[in-house]
Protein backbone atom coordinates (compact mmCIF):
# COMPACT_ATOMS: atom_id res chain seq x y z
CA UNK A 1 0.00 0.00 0.00
CA UNK A 2 2.99 2.29 -0.38
CA UNK A 3 4.36 4.50 -3.12
CA UNK A 4 7.36 2.21 -3.20
CA UNK A 5 5.10 -0.76 -3.97
CA UNK A 6 3.36 1.17 -6.74
CA UNK A 7 6.67 2.27 -8.26
CA UNK A 8 7.96 -1.30 -8.06
CA UNK A 9 4.85 -2.56 -9.79
CA UNK A 10 5.20 0.08 -12.51
CA UNK A 11 8.82 -1.02 -13.01
CA UNK A 12 7.73 -4.65 -13.29
CA UNK A 13 5.22 -3.77 -15.97
CA UNK A 14 7.78 -1.70 -17.87
CA UNK A 15 10.02 -4.77 -17.86
CA UNK A 16 7.14 -6.86 -19.24
CA UNK A 17 6.56 -4.24 -21.92
CA UNK A 18 10.23 -4.28 -22.85
CA UNK A 19 10.29 -8.08 -23.17
CA UNK A 20 7.11 -8.01 -25.24
CA UNK A 21 8.36 -5.20 -27.47
CA UNK A 22 11.58 -7.11 -28.17
CA UNK A 23 9.59 -10.26 -28.93
CA UNK A 24 7.15 -8.46 -31.19
CA UNK A 25 10.04 -6.84 -33.01
CA UNK A 26 11.43 -10.32 -33.65
CA UNK A 27 8.12 -11.75 -34.83
CA UNK A 28 6.80 -8.81 -36.80
CA UNK A 29 9.05 -5.81 -36.84
CA UNK A 30 7.72 -2.32 -37.49
CA UNK A 31 8.29 0.47 -39.90
CA UNK A 32 7.57 3.55 -37.87
CA UNK A 33 7.28 4.98 -34.38
CA UNK A 34 3.54 5.21 -34.98
CA UNK A 35 3.37 1.45 -35.47
CA UNK A 36 5.49 0.89 -32.39
CA UNK A 37 3.22 3.08 -30.28
CA UNK A 38 0.10 1.42 -31.68
CA UNK A 39 1.52 -2.02 -30.91
CA UNK A 40 2.52 -1.15 -27.33
CA UNK A 41 -0.57 -2.83 -25.82
CA UNK A 42 -0.01 -6.01 -27.80
CA UNK A 43 3.69 -5.92 -26.92
CA UNK A 44 2.85 -5.57 -23.23
CA UNK A 45 0.38 -8.46 -23.26
CA UNK A 46 2.87 -10.54 -25.23
CA UNK A 47 5.46 -9.77 -22.55
CA UNK A 48 3.03 -10.83 -19.83
CA UNK A 49 2.26 -14.08 -21.64
CA UNK A 50 5.86 -14.92 -22.48
CA UNK A 51 7.31 -14.10 -19.07
CA UNK A 52 4.42 -15.92 -17.38
CA UNK A 53 4.94 -19.06 -19.44
CA UNK A 54 8.72 -19.11 -18.97
CA UNK A 55 8.53 -18.44 -15.23
CA UNK A 56 5.98 -21.25 -14.91
CA UNK A 57 8.23 -23.67 -16.77
CA UNK A 58 11.19 -22.63 -14.63
CA UNK A 59 9.14 -23.25 -11.49
CA UNK A 60 8.11 -26.69 -12.67
CA UNK A 61 11.75 -27.50 -13.47
CA UNK A 62 12.83 -26.44 -9.99
CA UNK A 63 14.70 -23.26 -10.94
CA UNK A 64 14.89 -21.07 -7.80
CA UNK A 65 12.49 -18.15 -7.94
CA UNK A 66 13.90 -14.81 -6.82
CA UNK A 67 14.00 -11.16 -7.82
CA UNK A 68 17.33 -11.70 -9.55
CA UNK A 69 15.96 -14.78 -11.27
CA UNK A 70 12.94 -12.90 -12.62
CA UNK A 71 15.11 -10.03 -13.88
CA UNK A 72 17.57 -12.45 -15.44
CA UNK A 73 14.76 -14.39 -17.12
CA UNK A 74 13.33 -11.19 -18.60
CA UNK A 75 16.78 -10.06 -19.76
CA UNK A 76 17.47 -13.42 -21.40
CA UNK A 77 14.08 -13.37 -23.13
CA UNK A 78 14.74 -9.89 -24.50
CA UNK A 79 18.22 -10.91 -25.66
CA UNK A 80 16.88 -14.08 -27.27
CA UNK A 81 14.23 -12.00 -29.04
CA UNK A 82 16.89 -9.60 -30.30
CA UNK A 83 18.96 -12.51 -31.61
CA UNK A 84 15.86 -14.04 -33.21
CA UNK A 85 15.04 -10.73 -34.86
CA UNK A 86 18.49 -10.65 -36.40
CA UNK A 87 18.38 -14.24 -37.61
CA UNK A 88 14.82 -13.96 -38.93
CA UNK A 89 15.46 -10.67 -40.70
CA UNK A 90 16.32 -12.43 -43.95
CA UNK A 91 13.15 -14.53 -44.05
CA UNK A 92 10.61 -12.38 -42.32
CA UNK A 93 8.44 -10.51 -44.79
CA UNK A 94 8.27 -6.77 -44.29
CA UNK A 95 5.20 -5.85 -42.27
CA UNK A 96 2.50 -4.55 -44.56
CA UNK A 97 2.55 -0.80 -44.83
CA UNK A 98 0.08 1.10 -42.72
CA UNK A 99 -0.85 4.70 -42.98
CA UNK A 100 -0.72 6.75 -39.80
CA UNK A 101 -4.38 7.66 -39.99
CA UNK A 102 -5.30 10.79 -38.21
CA UNK A 103 -7.02 10.10 -34.94
CA UNK A 104 -10.63 10.82 -35.78
CA UNK A 105 -13.34 12.35 -33.68
CA UNK A 106 -14.87 8.96 -32.86
CA UNK A 107 -11.55 7.60 -31.63
CA UNK A 108 -10.91 10.68 -29.51
CA UNK A 109 -14.40 10.68 -28.02
CA UNK A 110 -14.53 6.97 -27.20
CA UNK A 111 -10.86 6.91 -26.26
CA UNK A 112 -11.60 9.56 -23.65
CA UNK A 113 -14.55 7.55 -22.32
CA UNK A 114 -12.32 4.49 -22.00
CA UNK A 115 -9.73 6.61 -20.19
CA UNK A 116 -12.44 7.81 -17.77
CA UNK A 117 -13.38 4.19 -17.12
CA UNK A 118 -9.78 3.08 -16.64
CA UNK A 119 -9.08 6.00 -14.31
CA UNK A 120 -12.03 5.00 -12.13
CA UNK A 121 -10.81 1.40 -12.25
CA UNK A 122 -7.34 2.46 -11.10
CA UNK A 123 -8.71 4.34 -8.11
CA UNK A 124 -10.76 1.27 -7.17
CA UNK A 125 -7.71 -0.97 -7.53
CA UNK A 126 -5.42 1.28 -5.55
CA UNK A 127 -6.73 0.41 -2.07
CA UNK A 128 -8.80 -2.69 -2.74
CA UNK A 129 -8.78 -5.43 -0.14
CA UNK A 130 -8.49 -9.09 -1.05
CA UNK A 131 -12.17 -10.02 -0.92
CA UNK A 132 -12.65 -12.68 -3.58
CA UNK A 133 -12.77 -16.12 -1.96
CA UNK A 134 -10.65 -17.96 -4.52
CA UNK A 135 -8.08 -15.17 -4.40
CA UNK A 136 -7.35 -15.54 -0.69
CA UNK A 137 -8.11 -19.25 -0.55
CA UNK A 138 -5.50 -20.32 -3.11
CA UNK A 139 -4.40 -17.92 -5.88
CA UNK A 140 -2.62 -15.40 -3.68
CA UNK A 141 -1.46 -18.02 -1.12
CA UNK A 142 0.22 -19.89 -4.00
CA UNK A 143 1.88 -16.64 -5.05
CA UNK A 144 2.99 -15.97 -1.48
CA UNK A 145 4.35 -19.50 -1.22
CA UNK A 146 6.44 -18.97 -4.37
CA UNK A 147 7.57 -15.57 -3.10
CA UNK A 148 8.51 -16.75 0.39
CA UNK A 149 9.94 -20.18 -0.41
CA UNK A 150 11.48 -19.47 -3.82
CA UNK A 151 9.63 -22.17 -5.74
CA UNK A 152 6.72 -24.57 -5.82
CA UNK A 153 6.58 -25.45 -2.15
CA UNK A 154 5.26 -28.97 -2.11
CA UNK A 155 3.36 -28.67 1.15
CA UNK A 156 1.40 -25.58 0.17
CA UNK A 157 0.81 -26.65 -3.41
CA UNK A 158 -0.51 -29.96 -2.13
CA UNK A 159 -2.70 -28.57 0.63
CA UNK A 160 -4.16 -25.51 -1.08
CA UNK A 161 -7.36 -25.99 -3.12
CA UNK A 162 -7.04 -26.83 -6.84
CA UNK A 163 -3.43 -28.03 -6.69
CA UNK A 164 -3.31 -28.94 -10.40
CA UNK A 165 -4.09 -25.42 -11.62
CA UNK A 166 -1.01 -24.25 -13.57
CA UNK A 167 1.20 -21.67 -11.87
CA UNK A 168 1.28 -18.79 -14.38
CA UNK A 169 -0.82 -16.39 -12.33
CA UNK A 170 0.87 -17.19 -8.99
CA UNK A 171 4.25 -16.83 -10.73
CA UNK A 172 3.38 -13.40 -12.13
CA UNK A 173 1.96 -12.33 -8.77
CA UNK A 174 5.07 -13.58 -6.97
CA UNK A 175 7.24 -11.64 -9.43
CA UNK A 176 5.10 -8.56 -8.75
CA UNK A 177 5.65 -9.09 -4.99
CA UNK A 178 9.40 -9.10 -5.57
CA UNK A 179 9.24 -5.83 -7.47
CA UNK A 180 6.92 -4.32 -4.82
CA UNK A 181 9.26 -5.40 -2.06
CA UNK A 182 6.65 -7.32 -0.05
CA UNK A 183 3.67 -9.65 -0.42
CA UNK A 184 1.33 -6.67 -0.66
CA UNK A 185 -2.04 -8.18 -1.58
CA UNK A 186 -3.71 -4.76 -1.65
CA UNK A 187 -1.41 -3.13 -4.21
CA UNK A 188 -1.50 -6.40 -6.17
CA UNK A 189 -4.92 -5.32 -7.50
CA UNK A 190 -3.15 -2.60 -9.49
CA UNK A 191 -1.35 -5.34 -11.43
CA UNK A 192 -4.74 -6.45 -12.70
CA UNK A 193 -5.50 -2.86 -13.66
CA UNK A 194 -2.33 -2.90 -15.77
CA UNK A 195 -3.58 -6.08 -17.44
CA UNK A 196 -6.97 -4.54 -18.21
CA UNK A 197 -5.26 -1.50 -19.75
CA UNK A 198 -2.92 -3.75 -21.71
CA UNK A 199 -5.79 -5.78 -23.10
CA UNK A 200 -7.72 -2.69 -24.22
CA UNK A 201 -4.61 -1.21 -25.83
CA UNK A 202 -3.77 -4.52 -27.52
CA UNK A 203 -7.20 -4.94 -29.10
CA UNK A 204 -7.36 -1.28 -30.11
CA UNK A 205 -3.85 -1.44 -31.54
CA UNK A 206 -4.56 -4.56 -33.55
CA UNK A 207 -7.91 -3.43 -34.91
CA UNK A 208 -7.38 0.31 -35.38
CA UNK A 209 -5.80 -0.07 -38.84
CA UNK A 210 -8.24 -2.81 -39.83
CA UNK A 211 -11.73 -1.69 -38.85
CA UNK A 212 -13.37 1.73 -38.60
CA UNK A 213 -13.21 3.42 -35.21
CA UNK A 214 -16.99 3.62 -35.06
CA UNK A 215 -17.12 -0.20 -35.01
CA UNK A 216 -14.14 -0.75 -32.76
CA UNK A 217 -14.61 1.57 -29.81
CA UNK A 218 -18.32 1.12 -28.98
CA UNK A 219 -17.88 -2.68 -28.90
CA UNK A 220 -14.80 -2.43 -26.72
CA UNK A 221 -16.48 0.02 -24.35
CA UNK A 222 -19.58 -2.15 -24.10
CA UNK A 223 -17.49 -5.13 -23.00
CA UNK A 224 -15.60 -3.06 -20.42
CA UNK A 225 -18.75 -1.72 -18.77
CA UNK A 226 -20.60 -5.06 -18.54
CA UNK A 227 -21.58 -5.37 -14.85
CA UNK A 228 -19.65 -8.57 -14.20
CA UNK A 229 -16.53 -7.18 -15.88
CA UNK A 230 -16.70 -4.03 -13.77
CA UNK A 231 -17.19 -6.02 -10.60
CA UNK A 232 -14.57 -8.70 -11.07
CA UNK A 233 -11.77 -7.74 -13.40
CA UNK A 234 -9.54 -6.51 -10.58
CA UNK A 235 -9.71 -9.73 -8.57
CA UNK A 236 -6.17 -11.12 -8.25
CA UNK A 237 -7.07 -14.50 -9.67
CA UNK A 238 -6.83 -16.18 -13.03
CA UNK A 239 -10.26 -15.64 -14.58
CA UNK A 240 -9.86 -12.38 -16.44
CA UNK A 241 -6.22 -12.83 -17.37
CA UNK A 242 -7.25 -16.15 -18.95
CA UNK A 243 -10.01 -14.33 -20.81
CA UNK A 244 -7.55 -11.71 -22.09
CA UNK A 245 -5.16 -14.40 -23.36
CA UNK A 246 -8.02 -16.31 -24.96
CA UNK A 247 -9.50 -13.22 -26.58
CA UNK A 248 -6.15 -12.11 -28.00
CA UNK A 249 -5.39 -15.62 -29.27
CA UNK A 250 -8.86 -15.80 -30.85
CA UNK A 251 -8.44 -12.38 -32.47
CA UNK A 252 -4.96 -13.12 -33.80
CA UNK A 253 -6.10 -16.44 -35.27
CA UNK A 254 -9.06 -14.65 -36.89
CA UNK A 255 -6.71 -12.09 -38.42
CA UNK A 256 -4.36 -14.85 -39.55
CA UNK A 257 -7.21 -16.72 -41.23
CA UNK A 258 -7.95 -13.74 -43.44
CA UNK A 259 -4.47 -12.18 -43.64
CA UNK A 260 -2.08 -15.15 -43.52
CA UNK A 261 0.74 -13.13 -41.97
CA UNK A 262 2.93 -15.63 -40.10
CA UNK A 263 3.60 -13.33 -37.13
CA UNK A 264 -0.10 -13.32 -36.29
CA UNK A 265 -0.19 -17.09 -35.74
CA UNK A 266 3.18 -17.05 -33.97
CA UNK A 267 1.92 -14.41 -31.55
CA UNK A 268 -1.37 -16.27 -31.10
CA UNK A 269 0.65 -19.36 -30.18
CA UNK A 270 2.26 -17.50 -27.27
CA UNK A 271 -1.15 -16.42 -26.02
CA UNK A 272 -2.49 -19.97 -26.39
CA UNK A 273 0.45 -21.29 -24.38
CA UNK A 274 -0.22 -18.66 -21.73
CA UNK A 275 -3.91 -19.59 -21.66
CA UNK A 276 -3.21 -23.29 -21.01
CA UNK A 277 -0.69 -22.28 -18.33
CA UNK A 278 -3.17 -20.00 -16.62
CA UNK A 279 -6.04 -22.32 -15.76
CA UNK A 280 -7.14 -25.77 -16.76
CA UNK A 281 -10.13 -24.15 -18.52
CA UNK A 282 -7.51 -22.66 -20.84
CA UNK A 283 -6.99 -26.06 -22.46
CA UNK A 284 -10.66 -26.17 -23.38
CA UNK A 285 -10.65 -22.62 -24.72
CA UNK A 286 -7.50 -23.14 -26.77
CA UNK A 287 -8.93 -26.33 -28.25
CA UNK A 288 -12.01 -24.31 -29.28
CA UNK A 289 -9.84 -21.65 -30.97
CA UNK A 290 -7.85 -24.26 -32.89
CA UNK A 291 -10.88 -26.27 -34.01
CA UNK A 292 -12.76 -23.10 -34.99
CA UNK A 293 -9.72 -21.99 -36.97
CA UNK A 294 -9.57 -25.37 -38.68
CA UNK A 295 -13.25 -25.30 -39.58
CA UNK A 296 -13.02 -21.77 -40.96
CA UNK A 297 -9.95 -22.65 -43.04
CA UNK A 298 -11.24 -25.98 -44.38
CA UNK A 299 -11.01 -24.78 -47.99
CA UNK A 300 -7.28 -24.19 -47.64
CA UNK A 301 -6.67 -26.99 -45.21
CA UNK A 302 -3.35 -28.02 -46.74
CA UNK A 303 -1.94 -24.65 -45.84
CA UNK A 304 -3.77 -23.88 -42.62
CA UNK A 305 -4.18 -27.12 -40.70
CA UNK A 306 -0.51 -28.07 -40.29
CA UNK A 307 0.23 -24.57 -39.04
CA UNK A 308 -2.71 -24.57 -36.65
CA UNK A 309 -1.69 -28.03 -35.46
CA UNK A 310 1.85 -26.86 -34.85
CA UNK A 311 0.59 -23.83 -32.92
CA UNK A 312 -1.60 -26.06 -30.74
CA UNK A 313 1.25 -28.52 -30.20
CA UNK A 314 3.60 -25.76 -29.07
CA UNK A 315 0.97 -24.36 -26.72
CA UNK A 316 0.30 -27.77 -25.17
CA UNK A 317 4.03 -28.55 -24.98
CA UNK A 318 4.47 -25.58 -22.66
CA UNK A 319 2.23 -27.38 -20.20
CA UNK A 320 4.29 -30.58 -20.12
CA UNK A 321 6.77 -29.64 -17.34
CA UNK A 322 3.93 -28.55 -15.08
CA UNK A 323 1.96 -31.69 -15.89
CA UNK A 324 4.94 -33.83 -14.99
CA UNK A 325 5.44 -31.85 -11.77
CA UNK A 326 1.95 -32.34 -10.45
CA UNK A 327 1.35 -35.85 -11.75
CA UNK A 328 4.60 -37.17 -10.23
CA UNK A 329 3.34 -35.87 -6.90
CA UNK A 330 -0.04 -37.56 -7.22
CA UNK A 331 -1.95 -34.31 -7.06
CA UNK A 332 -5.55 -34.26 -8.25
CA UNK A 333 -5.76 -34.03 -12.06
CA UNK A 334 -7.63 -31.81 -14.48
CA UNK A 335 -10.37 -34.13 -15.61
CA UNK A 336 -13.66 -34.94 -13.90
CA UNK A 337 -13.23 -37.40 -11.04
CA UNK A 338 -15.36 -39.95 -12.88
CA UNK A 339 -13.43 -39.51 -16.15
CA UNK A 340 -13.78 -37.30 -19.22
CA UNK A 341 -16.40 -39.54 -20.79
CA UNK A 342 -18.42 -40.15 -17.64
CA UNK A 343 -21.10 -37.92 -19.08
CA UNK A 344 -22.48 -40.91 -20.99
CA UNK A 345 -23.34 -42.48 -17.64
CA UNK A 346 -25.50 -39.47 -16.79
CA UNK A 347 -27.41 -38.69 -19.96
CA UNK A 348 -30.17 -37.00 -17.97
CA UNK A 349 -27.72 -34.24 -17.03
CA UNK A 350 -27.21 -33.13 -20.65
CA UNK A 351 -30.18 -30.86 -21.19
CA UNK A 352 -30.10 -29.17 -17.75
CA UNK A 353 -26.37 -28.63 -18.25
CA UNK A 354 -26.99 -27.00 -21.63
CA UNK A 355 -29.75 -24.82 -20.19
CA UNK A 356 -27.50 -23.69 -17.37
CA UNK A 357 -24.68 -22.89 -19.80
CA UNK A 358 -26.96 -20.88 -22.05
CA UNK A 359 -28.45 -18.95 -19.15
CA UNK A 360 -24.95 -18.05 -17.92
CA UNK A 361 -23.79 -16.84 -21.32
CA UNK A 362 -26.92 -14.81 -22.07
CA UNK A 363 -27.47 -13.34 -18.60
CA UNK A 364 -28.26 -9.66 -19.23
CA UNK A 365 -27.53 -8.62 -15.65
CA UNK A 366 -23.99 -9.93 -16.01
CA UNK A 367 -23.09 -9.42 -19.66
CA UNK A 368 -25.74 -7.11 -21.16
CA UNK A 369 -26.46 -8.13 -24.78
CA UNK A 370 -22.89 -8.74 -25.84
CA UNK A 371 -23.17 -12.38 -26.93
CA UNK A 372 -26.51 -11.83 -28.72
CA UNK A 373 -24.83 -8.98 -30.61
CA UNK A 374 -22.12 -11.38 -31.73
CA UNK A 375 -24.86 -13.73 -32.95
CA UNK A 376 -26.53 -10.95 -34.94
CA UNK A 377 -23.17 -9.86 -36.37
CA UNK A 378 -22.45 -13.45 -37.49
CA UNK A 379 -25.79 -13.58 -39.33
CA UNK A 380 -25.21 -10.17 -40.93
CA UNK A 381 -21.71 -11.14 -42.05
CA UNK A 382 -23.04 -14.36 -43.65
CA UNK A 383 -25.85 -12.44 -45.35
CA UNK A 384 -23.36 -9.93 -46.69
CA UNK A 385 -21.30 -12.69 -48.29
CA UNK A 386 -18.42 -13.04 -45.86
CA UNK A 387 -17.55 -16.63 -45.02
CA UNK A 388 -14.30 -17.15 -43.12
CA UNK A 389 -14.82 -14.75 -40.19
CA UNK A 390 -18.46 -15.58 -39.45
CA UNK A 391 -17.74 -19.32 -39.77
CA UNK A 392 -14.84 -18.93 -37.36
CA UNK A 393 -16.81 -16.86 -34.86
CA UNK A 394 -19.88 -19.09 -35.02
CA UNK A 395 -17.82 -22.25 -34.54
CA UNK A 396 -15.83 -20.69 -31.70
CA UNK A 397 -18.90 -19.55 -29.78
CA UNK A 398 -20.79 -22.80 -30.32
CA UNK A 399 -17.78 -24.86 -29.25
CA UNK A 400 -17.23 -22.85 -26.09
CA UNK A 401 -20.91 -23.22 -25.17
CA UNK A 402 -20.64 -26.96 -25.84
CA UNK A 403 -17.53 -26.93 -23.65
CA UNK A 404 -19.41 -25.19 -20.85
CA UNK A 405 -22.14 -27.80 -21.16
CA UNK A 406 -19.53 -30.59 -21.01
CA UNK A 407 -18.04 -29.09 -17.84
CA UNK A 408 -21.40 -29.08 -16.10
CA UNK A 409 -22.40 -32.46 -17.47
CA UNK A 410 -19.18 -34.24 -16.60
CA UNK A 411 -18.37 -32.81 -13.20
CA UNK A 412 -21.13 -34.73 -11.50
CA UNK A 413 -20.38 -33.11 -8.16
CA UNK A 414 -22.02 -29.96 -9.59
CA UNK A 415 -25.77 -30.04 -9.01
CA UNK A 416 -28.12 -29.24 -11.87
CA UNK A 417 -29.74 -26.92 -12.70
CA UNK A 418 -26.71 -24.89 -11.77
CA UNK A 419 -27.85 -21.82 -9.87
CA UNK A 420 -24.84 -21.04 -7.72
CA UNK A 421 -24.33 -17.42 -6.73
CA UNK A 422 -22.60 -15.62 -9.59
CA UNK A 423 -19.76 -14.51 -7.33
CA UNK A 424 -18.47 -18.06 -7.02
CA UNK A 425 -20.10 -19.66 -10.06
CA UNK A 426 -17.46 -21.34 -12.25
CA UNK A 427 -19.79 -21.35 -15.22
CA UNK A 428 -20.18 -17.58 -15.09
CA UNK A 429 -16.41 -17.29 -14.96
CA UNK A 430 -15.98 -19.44 -18.03
CA UNK A 431 -18.68 -17.62 -19.95
CA UNK A 432 -16.72 -14.39 -19.41
CA UNK A 433 -14.28 -15.68 -22.02
CA UNK A 434 -16.92 -15.30 -24.74
CA UNK A 435 -17.82 -11.82 -23.57
CA UNK A 436 -14.24 -10.55 -23.40
CA UNK A 437 -13.51 -12.11 -26.79
CA UNK A 438 -16.51 -10.25 -28.19
CA UNK A 439 -14.64 -6.98 -27.66
CA UNK A 440 -12.18 -8.19 -30.27
CA UNK A 441 -14.34 -10.34 -32.56
CA UNK A 442 -17.49 -8.21 -32.81
CA UNK A 443 -15.84 -5.21 -34.58
CA UNK A 444 -14.28 -7.59 -37.12
CA UNK A 445 -17.64 -9.21 -37.83
CA UNK A 446 -19.44 -5.88 -38.18
CA UNK A 447 -16.75 -4.65 -40.52
CA UNK A 448 -16.99 -7.83 -42.61
CA UNK A 449 -20.78 -7.42 -42.75
CA UNK A 450 -20.52 -3.77 -43.78
CA UNK A 451 -18.03 -4.48 -46.55
CA UNK A 452 -19.51 -7.83 -47.53
CA UNK A 453 -16.08 -9.40 -47.44
CA UNK A 454 -13.70 -11.16 -45.09
CA UNK A 455 -10.62 -9.53 -46.48
CA UNK A 456 -9.06 -7.33 -43.88
CA UNK A 457 -7.83 -4.21 -45.59
CA UNK A 458 -4.87 -2.41 -44.12
CA UNK A 459 -4.99 1.12 -45.37
CA UNK A 460 -2.36 1.76 -47.99
CA UNK A 461 -0.11 4.80 -47.72
Amino acid sequence: MTVRALCGLAAFNLVLLAVGAASLAALRGWRSWYELARSAGLAYMLGVALVGVVLSIELALGVPFSFAGVVLTCALLALAAAALRRSLARWRPEPPPERARGIGLVSVAFGLLVVVYLEALFRAARLSGLSAFDAWAFWVPKAKAIYFFGGLDEQFFRELPNPSYPPLVPALEAAAFHFMGSADAVTLHVQFWFLACGFVAAVAGLLAPRVPAVMLWPCLLLVLVAPRVVGRNLDPQADFILDYFFALAALLVALWLVGREPWLLATATVFMAAAVMTKRDGQLLVACVVVAGAVASRRSWRFAWPRLGLAAAVAIAALVPWHIWFSTRDLAGDLPAAGALALFDDLDRGWPAFESAISAVFDYDLWLIIVPLVGVAVVLAFLAGARTLPTYALTLYVLVIVGLTWVLWSFTELELPFVQDEAVNPLVRLSASLVIAAGAILPLLLDAAWRGSDDVVLEEP
Binding site: Y117, A124, L127, S128, G129, W136, P227, V230, L442, G452
Partner: protein
Protein backbone atom coordinates in the same frame (compact mmCIF):
# COMPACT_ATOMS: atom_id res chain seq x y z
CA UNK B 1 -29.76 -7.16 -49.18
CA UNK B 2 -26.78 -4.91 -48.67
CA UNK B 3 -29.07 -2.19 -47.33
CA UNK B 4 -30.63 -4.58 -44.85
CA UNK B 5 -27.23 -5.80 -43.72
CA UNK B 6 -25.84 -2.30 -43.35
CA UNK B 7 -28.98 -1.28 -41.48
CA UNK B 8 -28.35 -4.19 -39.14
CA UNK B 9 -24.74 -3.12 -38.64
CA UNK B 10 -25.83 0.42 -37.82
CA UNK B 11 -28.42 -0.95 -35.39
CA UNK B 12 -25.79 -3.10 -33.66
CA UNK B 13 -23.47 -0.13 -33.31
CA UNK B 14 -26.36 1.99 -32.09
CA UNK B 15 -27.21 -0.57 -29.38
CA UNK B 16 -23.56 -0.80 -28.40
CA UNK B 17 -23.19 2.98 -28.15
CA UNK B 18 -26.40 3.48 -26.19
CA UNK B 19 -25.81 0.63 -23.76
CA UNK B 20 -22.12 1.48 -23.49
CA UNK B 21 -22.85 5.07 -22.47
CA UNK B 22 -25.58 4.15 -20.00
CA UNK B 23 -23.50 1.44 -18.39
CA UNK B 24 -20.34 3.54 -18.42
CA UNK B 25 -22.06 5.98 -16.09
CA UNK B 26 -23.18 3.10 -13.89
CA UNK B 27 -19.71 1.55 -13.96
CA UNK B 28 -18.02 4.78 -12.93
CA UNK B 29 -20.60 5.21 -10.15
CA UNK B 30 -20.06 1.66 -8.97
CA UNK B 31 -16.29 2.02 -9.05
CA UNK B 32 -16.63 5.32 -7.20
CA UNK B 33 -18.56 3.56 -4.45
CA UNK B 34 -15.81 0.96 -4.25
CA UNK B 35 -13.22 3.73 -3.99
CA UNK B 36 -15.17 5.35 -1.14
CA UNK B 37 -15.52 2.03 0.68
CA UNK B 38 -11.83 1.28 0.26
CA UNK B 39 -10.85 4.72 1.45
CA UNK B 40 -13.11 4.45 4.49
CA UNK B 41 -11.63 1.10 5.49
CA UNK B 42 -8.71 1.11 7.86
CA UNK B 43 -5.46 -0.76 7.34
CA UNK B 44 -6.72 -3.87 9.16
CA UNK B 45 -9.96 -3.99 7.20
CA UNK B 46 -8.07 -3.83 3.93
CA UNK B 47 -5.57 -6.44 5.02
CA UNK B 48 -8.30 -8.85 6.17
CA UNK B 49 -10.87 -7.93 3.48
CA UNK B 50 -12.55 -11.24 2.65
CA UNK B 51 -11.37 -12.57 5.99
CA UNK B 52 -13.62 -10.09 7.79
CA UNK B 53 -16.48 -12.52 7.29
CA UNK B 54 -14.41 -15.38 8.76
CA UNK B 55 -12.25 -13.84 11.46
CA UNK B 56 -13.90 -12.85 14.73
CA UNK B 57 -11.07 -11.03 16.50
CA UNK B 58 -8.31 -9.68 14.27
CA UNK B 59 -5.96 -9.36 17.22
CA UNK B 60 -5.62 -13.13 17.41
CA UNK B 61 -4.03 -13.46 13.97
CA UNK B 62 -1.86 -10.39 14.54
CA UNK B 63 -0.72 -11.90 17.84
CA UNK B 64 -0.05 -15.18 16.08
CA UNK B 65 2.15 -13.33 13.59
CA UNK B 66 3.97 -11.70 16.49
CA UNK B 67 4.53 -14.85 18.55
CA UNK B 68 5.15 -17.50 15.93
CA UNK B 69 8.53 -17.07 14.21
CA UNK B 70 8.48 -16.80 10.43
CA UNK B 71 10.01 -20.23 10.06
CA UNK B 72 7.72 -21.66 12.73
CA UNK B 73 4.87 -24.14 12.46
CA UNK B 74 1.38 -23.85 13.81
CA UNK B 75 -1.92 -25.63 13.79
CA UNK B 76 -5.40 -24.23 13.88
CA UNK B 77 -7.89 -26.06 16.08
CA UNK B 78 -11.36 -24.73 15.37
CA UNK B 79 -14.47 -25.26 17.42
CA UNK B 80 -17.79 -23.67 18.20
CA UNK B 81 -16.89 -21.83 21.35
CA UNK B 82 -16.08 -18.48 19.79
CA UNK B 83 -18.29 -15.58 20.74
CA UNK B 84 -19.51 -13.73 17.66
CA UNK B 85 -18.49 -16.46 15.22
CA UNK B 86 -20.16 -16.42 11.81
CA UNK B 87 -21.23 -19.51 9.92
CA UNK B 88 -17.99 -19.19 7.95
CA UNK B 89 -15.68 -19.03 10.94
CA UNK B 90 -15.28 -22.68 11.84
CA UNK B 91 -15.05 -24.11 8.30
CA UNK B 92 -12.76 -21.42 6.88
CA UNK B 93 -10.58 -20.04 9.67
CA UNK B 94 -7.87 -22.58 8.90
CA UNK B 95 -7.83 -21.50 5.21
CA UNK B 96 -7.63 -17.85 6.10
CA UNK B 97 -4.93 -18.41 8.73
CA UNK B 98 -2.86 -20.24 6.13
CA UNK B 99 -3.08 -17.23 3.81
CA UNK B 100 -2.54 -14.70 6.57
CA UNK B 101 0.26 -16.36 8.52
CA UNK B 102 2.46 -17.42 5.62
CA UNK B 103 5.47 -18.01 5.60
CA UNK B 104 4.64 -19.82 8.83
CA UNK B 105 3.65 -23.37 7.99
CA UNK B 106 0.58 -25.26 9.12
CA UNK B 107 1.44 -28.66 10.56
CA UNK B 108 -0.68 -31.21 12.43
CA UNK B 109 1.96 -31.69 15.13
CA UNK B 110 3.08 -28.08 15.44
CA UNK B 111 3.97 -26.64 18.83
CA UNK B 112 2.08 -23.43 18.24
CA UNK B 113 -1.68 -23.82 18.46
CA UNK B 114 -4.21 -21.26 17.36
CA UNK B 115 -7.27 -22.32 19.32
CA UNK B 116 -10.31 -20.84 17.63
CA UNK B 117 -13.16 -21.88 19.85
CA UNK B 118 -11.62 -25.23 20.62
CA UNK B 119 -11.66 -27.05 23.94
CA UNK B 120 -8.11 -26.67 25.33
CA UNK B 121 -8.67 -29.69 27.53
CA UNK B 122 -9.14 -31.78 24.42
CA UNK B 123 -5.70 -30.97 23.00
CA UNK B 124 -3.04 -33.67 23.03
CA UNK B 125 -0.52 -33.08 25.76
CA UNK B 126 0.10 -30.07 27.91
CA UNK B 127 0.11 -26.59 26.42
CA UNK B 128 1.00 -23.21 27.82
CA UNK B 129 -1.39 -20.35 27.27
CA UNK B 130 0.45 -17.54 25.49
CA UNK B 131 -2.42 -15.20 24.67
CA UNK B 132 -6.20 -15.22 24.85
CA UNK B 133 -8.94 -12.78 24.05
CA UNK B 134 -11.39 -13.96 26.68
CA UNK B 135 -13.99 -14.84 24.07
CA UNK B 136 -12.90 -18.29 22.98
CA UNK B 137 -9.75 -17.57 21.00
CA UNK B 138 -6.31 -18.31 22.34
CA UNK B 139 -2.75 -19.01 21.29
CA UNK B 140 -1.03 -21.87 23.05
CA UNK B 141 2.35 -23.47 22.91
CA UNK B 142 2.60 -27.18 23.40
CA UNK B 143 5.05 -28.34 26.04
CA UNK B 144 7.27 -31.15 24.77
Amino acid sequence: MQRVVRGGVVACIGFAVALGLVYLVRAVDRLGEAVDANAAANYDDREFAGGNSVVVDKRALYQARAFIPKDGRYRVVAGRRVEGATELTEPFIEHFARYFLMPRRPSVDADWILCYGCDPAGLDGAATLVWENGAGISILRASR
